[in-house]
């Protein structure tokens, strides 16, 4: 009997084998992704404080977030600012440093290490360091700026300068992009440059007509992953705001988030503020879903067949 369907039993064996290899992730996907995601959707339609049973309240949380919650639109605007300005600066600077490192002929290893190291600095530590460095009164940066007669901004204590200060911090950690761009730049076929040089193309023309088209998939990758990182931007703006405001860290501290004047507030901070400081889990879930919709939209860009993460072979 068993010999009658050797093909079918072989197929079943191979399906079982595949399932066995995938099983850690299948369980993880169900328990740490699917179940909480569906719960988040459910809670978003309820009034829920974590103690009493969730009570269905329709679209109340949703309309509260979009019309009455005073922190939502500032956080949304800040997130969009970071997406536009911080990501653009990071990609441009990362590409610049990547180009520079491919041109450096002496001590390349040393330069590469120096450019890469800040990327590894733990975000909280790097943020603390930058709040100190950019401290308006006594920080070394303003001391240096003052010494050469330049204006000394208030950085993390000035609502107009806090996001540029965060951008400077993000540029300091550009090492990951440098490595990616460097690898892409070294992959550009040398013959194309030689041919262009014979035709008398200058440096800018070579960059514009050979380098850029060759590395455009990587630029696209850097932009989209940068956008997703900006959506998730959490520890740096939170810690910068708290430390600059002089809030004592630790458990259960109530504080007005986004110091100064909501300028360092981002969407992920709202989930924490609503859920874990105001115990309004239902409303926190609305913000979580807004965040979900935005990041999935950008992820879809990443997963396109052309220039996407999966590659043409799939």
């Amino acid at each position: 009997m068993t010999g009658a369907h050797p093909l079918r039993s072989k197929r079943r064996r191979s399906a079982l084998r595949t399932a066995a290899f995938l099983s850690p992730w299948l369980i993880g996907f169900a328990v740490f992704f699917l179940y909480p995601l569906l719960s988040t959707v459910y809670f978003s339609f309820t009034r829920y404080d974590g103690f009493r049973q969730p009570a269905f309240n329709g679209l109340d949380n949703w309309s509260y977030v979009f019309t009455d919650y005073p922190l939502f639109w500032p956080a949304m605007r800040n997130t969009l600012w970071l997406v536009l300005v911080m990501v653009t600066c990071r990609v441009a600077f990362g590409l610049g440093i990547g180009l520079l490192i491919t041109k450096i002929k002496t001590g390349t290893g040393v330069f590469r290490t120096l450019f890469y190291l800040p990327y590894l600095a733990p975000p909280v530590a790097a943020t603390l360091a930058f709040v100190f460095l950019l401290n308006p009164g006594t920080g070394p940066v303003n001391t240096l700026l003052d010494a050469v007669g330049l204006p000394t901004p208030g950085w993390f204590t000035d609502a107009d300068w806090s996001k540029p200060a965060l951008t400077a911090l993000a540029l300091w950690g550009v090492g990951d992009l440098m490595v990616i761009f460097m690898a892409a730049l070294l992959d550009v076929p040398k013959e194309q440059y030689e041919a262009a040089e014979l035709d008398g193309a200058g440096a800018w023309a070579r960059f514009r007509h050979i380098t850029l088209p060759n590395i455009s998939p990587i630029i696209m990758f850097a932009v989209v992953t940068g956008v997703i990182q900006a959506m998730q931007y959490y520890a740096q703006p939170l810690v910068a705001g708290k430390v600059a405001a002089g809030v004592i860290g630790g458990s259960g501290q109530q504080f007005e988030p986004g110091y100064p004047d909501k300028s360092t507030l981002t969407l992920p901070q709202l989930v924490y503020n609503l859920g874990f400081q105001r115990f309004d889990y239902g409303t926190a879930c609305v913000v979580a879903l807004v965040l979900f919709a935005l990041s999935m939209a950008f992820t879809a860009l990443l997963m396109r067949r052309r220039g996407g993460l999966i590659g043409a072979g799939e």
Partner: protein
């Protein structure tokens, strides 16, 4: 004629060399100076750290001992090592077979599975944190411990799976076929043939995972914040600044102590790191 020509070319080359390298030095200053100021301030006396001085009058090496002996600091250190060490081990063990199946098995739904892995990788942790917190804290009563941070890592990490899959794609199928012809089952093929070849990829994933846990702020804030005995370095560091409100020298010394292991580990494993970063972006 020809010597004048080479002369002009070589002088242009020298100019180019000088230009590129001065730009390089300027950029290097931007990346290095923060570290330098950090170190200098960490060695100042309490009083001097509040002034605009850049150079320490006296070298207070004792600041580091003071930070090291701050109550809690060693506990945070131990917790972070436990979270990062155990978490990394669990991630690697659970992610390798998944990545192997995604890279080398042919099955229906493979593309969908890969898309879901990428979607999970891009998911901000805040999206699912409310139900996850309620699950760990209310149903299992494990808030204030490291378990909610460590246990999920035993179920495959999306980023590690993706990175490993990219790496395993570069291993030619012929090696696997040869092993199978010799009568190896898939488990033996994975352990005996694939794992030894995948060592650089595994090293990269392990390092990323280690630093991810080392640097994590959100996880410990959610699950460990009400119990200082379960704090990690990243979370404790911020409260450290709160407790030593005006002492920038001590705060910077603590910051150096939190950064140091990351930087030391980097010097031991530079290649694995750079390879890992490259894999995420370039080889598709």
């Amino acid at each position: 004629m020809s010597s004048a020509h080479t002369g002009r070319r070589s002088s242009r080359a020298v100019l180019h060399w000088v230009g590129v390298h001065s730009l390089g030095v300027a950029a290097a200053l931007f990346f290095v100076l923060p570290f330098v100021f950090l170190l200098l301030t960490s060695l100042m006396g309490d009083r001097q750290a509040l002034t605009r001085d850049l150079w320490p009058d006296t070298w207070e090496w004792g600041n580091y001992a003071k930070v090291w002996h701050t109550p809690g600091f060693l506990t945070w250190w131990r917790n972070t090592l436990l979270y990062a060490g155990l978490g990394t081990l669990l991630t690697v063990v659970s992610s390798v077979p998944v990545a192997y199946a995604l890279a080398k098995f042919r099955f229906r739904g493979r593309r969908l599975a890969l898309l879901l892995v990428i979607a999970m990788m891009m998911l901000p942790p805040q999206v699912v944190v409310i139900p996850m917190y309620l699950f760990w804290a209310k149903q299992l009563d494990l808030s204030g411990t490291l378990w909610p941070l460590i246990v999920p890592m035993a179920f495959g990490d999306a980023f590690s799976i993706f990175l490993l899959r990219q790496f395993l794609l570069t291993i030619p199928d012929e090696y696997l076929d040869a092993a199978r012809v010799d009568g190896c089952g898939e488990v033996r093929t994975l352990l005996r043939v694939v794992l030894p070849m995948a060592r650089p990829g595994i090293a990269a994933v392990a390092l990323f995972q280690f630093f991810c846990a080392w640097n994590d702020y959100f996880g410990p804030q959610i699950y460990a914040s009400d119990n200082p005995a379960a704090w990690t370095l990243s979370y404790g560091l911020e409260s450290f600044k709160g407790a030593h409100h005006t002492n920038w020298n001590l705060t910077m010394a603590a910051t150096v102590l939190v950064m140091a292991p990351v930087i030391v580990l980097f010097f031991f494993a530079q290649k694995a790191f750079v390879e890992g970063v490259t894999l995420t972006g370039v080889k598709g």
